[in-house]
Structures are given as structure tokens and as C-alpha cells.
């Protein structure tokens, strides 16, 4: 059993029952969680921005930082747990993509992240079964191997599941 804590731009996966994956303080960032029924594994990536073309060096150093490099990196990690094969029954849940109150379009980084992640999932044929995105709340999310729930927490209210 292992407990994985992800920082900004980091990704991780596990399939040992009882293991957990957690990431903190998603502001405009998005936590993409992939579930693989074939190997009973779960993977998560903490995505900060949508498009790696703005800083290719950062994308090489920390692929999970951007949606377009983090998503394939997470898929690769999930495939490793599944004996190198892609799981066509895989599904996804996302959380995050928040913004400040009354922000202008330029500052709507969160929505751009959410839009890009959804586009990538559609392109890969992976179903998005749940999301908790937008608003002006900073989210902490966690998942336990063996459960299909993503647990979401923000200060001031009880945690909830998606």
C-alpha cells in the first residue's frame, strides 16, 4: 500500500488496493484522474496549464505541467500497469479549473485548462463520467485504489465525492 502526493505538474498511478493518490490546492489547475478497470488501477495528473508550446523545456522537464503533454504521459504510465496495453474501458473524472471572482477572460486560465482536458479525452475516446470544475474554490482531491470515487475537499465545507 502506498500513498502518493502529487505536486504541481506531477503524475502518479497505482493499483495496490488501499493505496491513495492526493493532490492539494487546485486553483486554476485541473486534476485529471483516469480509472482502468482492466488492471484495477488509478492514475492522476496535476495539470497547471493547457498548452506546452509556451515553454517546451518545462514540458520536457515536467510533462504533467501541461495538459497536452501530461495526458499522454499519464496514459503511458497507466498502460505500464496494464502490461503495456491500453485499456479501452478506461474512464475519467476531473476537478479544478477555478477562477477569481469576476475575472476577465485573460485570467480565465482555469476554463482553458478544463476545455483542453475535455478535448484531449474526447480525442482519445475516453468517457468523462464526472467533473467538479469552475467556481471560485480551491480544491484538494484524493482517490483510493479500489474505489471509483474522487473525494473533493475545500475549507469551510464537508468533503464530497464525484
Amino acid at each position: 500500500m502506498i500513498d502518493i502526493v502529487l505536486g504541481i505538474g506531477h503524475l502518479g498511478a497505482a493499483n495496490m488496493p488501499g493505496s491513495t493518490i492526493k493532490t492539494y490546492a487546485l486553483g486554476s489547475c485541473v486534476a485529471l484522474t483516469l480509472f482502468s478497470p482492466s488492471c484495477r488501477g488509478i492514475g492522476m495528473v496535476h495539470i497547471a496549464l493547457s498548452d506546452s508550446s509556451i515553454n517546451k523545456n518545462k514540458a520536457i522537464e515536467t510533462p504533467g505541467y501541461f495538459a497536452d503533454t501530461g495526458f499522454p504521459a499519464l496514459l503511458k504510465k497507466m498502460a505500464m500497469m496494464n502490461k503495456g496495453k491500453q485499456d479501452f474501458s478506461m474512464f475519467a473524472k476531473i476537478a479544478g479549473g477555478a477562477s477569481m471572482i469576476g475575472a476577465s477572460d485573460v485570467f480565465n486560465i482555469g476554463q482553458r485548462n478544463v476545455d483542453q482536458v475535455k478535448k484531449l479525452l474526447r480525442g482519445a475516446g475516453i468517457t468523462l463520467t464526472a467533473e467538479d470544475t469552475g467556481g471560485s474554490i480551491s480544491r484538494t482531491v484524493s482517490v483510493e485504489i479500489g474505489s471509483d470515487n474522487v473525494v473533493v475537499y475545500t475549507p469551510g465545507r464537508p468533503e464530497w465525492k464525484i
Binding site: 489547475c29 518545462k58 505541467y65 475575472a103 485570467f107
Partner: protein, 292 residues
């Protein structure tokens, strides 16, 4: 305003240690538009603790100089003003920055990390100013101090976050600042301003602290500078470096394009670079610190 509450705040501020003489003089010099690095070096030459810190950081793994740096002058030339100010503020205000912000459900060092990210972001944003050119290093210093009021207010507003968050959700308060003002008679910017006066910070830094959530209320000559910190503050929270229950719960100005020239892509590029600078700064002063 609740005069009793204000009196408690004033007492807390009076019990807060003042800045060291070298830190106070550094702030004065940093706020002067035509200062030079050598002026700052002379101030800290007699501060052995700060000198030691600068040498340690300059020789840290984060910087890995080709040759060991053994003199203060070389360390400052190598690191630059941002590190000099950052280390000075970090060391002299450690008691303020290290306190967990219980009133905001924040943790130890959350305030430092939030302000550091804001400072680095504000500096980058300042380079995109349209009309009045603003010194990037002054924007950095302002960002590093903008939320000091939270450290004082926090201990007096414990267990208030639930009421505030419910009030914002129900529309009773516009944002966290509005809630602080209505519930306690003063917000963290006003508290920070009083602390800044106690610390005898230069007027421009006092103005940044007081108006960082309402930059339109700043004086015309400092408005662009204050706006840079206002936006840096927003970037810090969006990037996940908030101080607890108030994370993202502030209105952000929409006149950014009036004061600055940047597109969505520019802003995101700034975020990546700011994140990289932040990681390097934290690694250099806290080698064992796990990054956020």
C-alpha cells in the same frame, strides 16, 4: 467600526517585533527609484546573519556556482536584488510569516509561499506596464509584503471562515474583503497598513499593502505599481498558493489591459517562469523543503 476590536489589533501589532535596523533601511533604499545595489550591500555588511544566509544561498545546489562564492559583494552581484530583499524579509519577518494562519485555516509558511509567488509574478507583470514604467524590484518587494495584515488579523478571527464562506455563497458578502470589513470593522489590507506604519515602511509600500485589493484607490503615480501586485496576488492564488479558506475568494480588477500589455499566452508563459523562479528560491533557502 468596533473600537474594542481595533484596540485588540493595535495591541497585537505593538507586540509584533519591529524590523531589524538593516531590514528597515533596506526597505527604504529599495523603495527609492534611483538606488544602486552597492547602497544595499553597505547596509547589510554589518548584518552577519543575513550575510551568512546570502553566502549559503549563493553556494547552494540551486545555484551551483563554478567557483565557491566567498564575499558578500560577489554573492549579491551573483544573486541580484530579488534574492537580497527576499532573504532579508524572510529572515527579519520570520515570526510573522511562519505563524499558521488559523483564522484562515491556513498552515505554517502558507503566507510566505503565497507572498513569494505574488512577488515574483508582480515583478514579471510590471515589465508589461503600458504607460508608467515601474521598477520590477519594487513590485517584488511590495508583493513580498502585501498580505502581512493576515498574520495579525488571523489570530482574532478564528472560527469565522464558515460564516464568511456561507455569506459569500449566499451573496451577503461580495468577497472575503467585504466580509472582513462587515464582520470585524476592518479588513486585512487595513490591518497590514497599520503594521506597515509600525514597521516604518516607506509610503509606497504602505500604499501597496493598503490598496492591493482595490488598486483604483491608489494614488495616480502608484496605481500601475499597485495594480501589478493586485494581479500578482491573483496569479499566486490561481497557481494554488493561497493562504487557506480565502483562496480565490476575492474580486479581481478587469482593467488589466488598460494598464498592461499581455495576452492569455503571455500570462501563461509568465506563470511557468514564475513557478520556476519560485521553486528555485524555495530550494535555495529550504533545501529539505518539499515543494508544493
Amino acid at each position: 467600526m468596533d473600537e474594542q476590536f481595533k484596540a485588540k489589533i493595535i495591541r497585537s501589532i505593538k507586540n509584533t517585533p519591529v524590523l531589524s535596523p538593516s531590514a528597515a533601511r533596506l526597505m527604504q533604499v529599495a523603495a527609492s527609484p534611483d538606488h544602486e545595489l552597492k547602497d544595499m550591500i553597505e547596509i547589510i555588511r554589518g548584518d552577519f546573519a543575513l550575510t551568512g544566509q546570502l553566502l549559503r544561498v549563493a553556494n547552494s545546489v540551486a545555484f551551483s556556482p563554478m567557483q565557491p562564492i566567498t564575499s558578500l559583494d560577489r554573492a549579491v552581484a551573483y544573486l541580484g536584488e530579488v534574492y537580497l530583499i527576499g532573504l532579508a524579509v524572510n529572515s527579519c519577518a520570520a515570526a510573522v510569516f511562519d505563524s499558521p494562519l488559523t483564522g484562515y485555516e491556513g498552515h505554517k509558511r502558507d503566507l510566505w509561499r503565497h507572498q513569494l509567488f505574488c512577488a515574483l509574478a508582480s515583478r514579471r507583470i510590471s515589465f508589461a506596464a503600458k504607460k508608467n514604467k515601474i521598477p520590477g524590484d519594487l513590485a517584488f518587494t511590495g508583493g513580498l509584503l502585501h498580505d502581512i495584515g493576515k498574520a495579525i488579523l488571523s489570530e482574532h478571527i478564528v472560527k469565522s471562515s464558515k460564516e464568511i464562506l456561507e455569506g459569500i455563497a449566499e451573496g451577503r458578502y461580495q468577497d472575503y474583503m467585504d466580509a472582513e470589513e462587515k464582520l470585524f470593522g476592518m479588513d486585512h489590507a487595513q490591518v497590514g497598513h497599520i503594521l506597515a506604519q509600525h514597521w516604518k515602511l516607506p509610503p509606497v509600500l504602505q500604499e501597496i499593502i493598503l490598496h492591493h485589493h482595490g488598486p483604483e484607490e491608489a494614488s495616480p503615480e502608484n496605481r500601475t505599481l499597485v495594480y501589478a501586485i493586485h494581479l500578482g496576488d491573483a496569479m499566486s492564488m490561481l497557481a494554488g498558493f493561497d493562504t487557506g479558506s480565502d483562496g480565490l475568494k476575492y474580486r479581481v480588477g478587469t482593467k488589466d489591459q488598460e494598464y498592461f500589455t499581455f495576452t492569455e499566452l503571455n500570462l501563461e508563459a509568465m506563470q511557468v517562469e514564475t513557478n520556476q523562479e519560485f521553486d528555485r528560491f524555495e530550494a535555495s533557502i529550504n533545501p529539505d523543503n518539499q515543494q508544493h
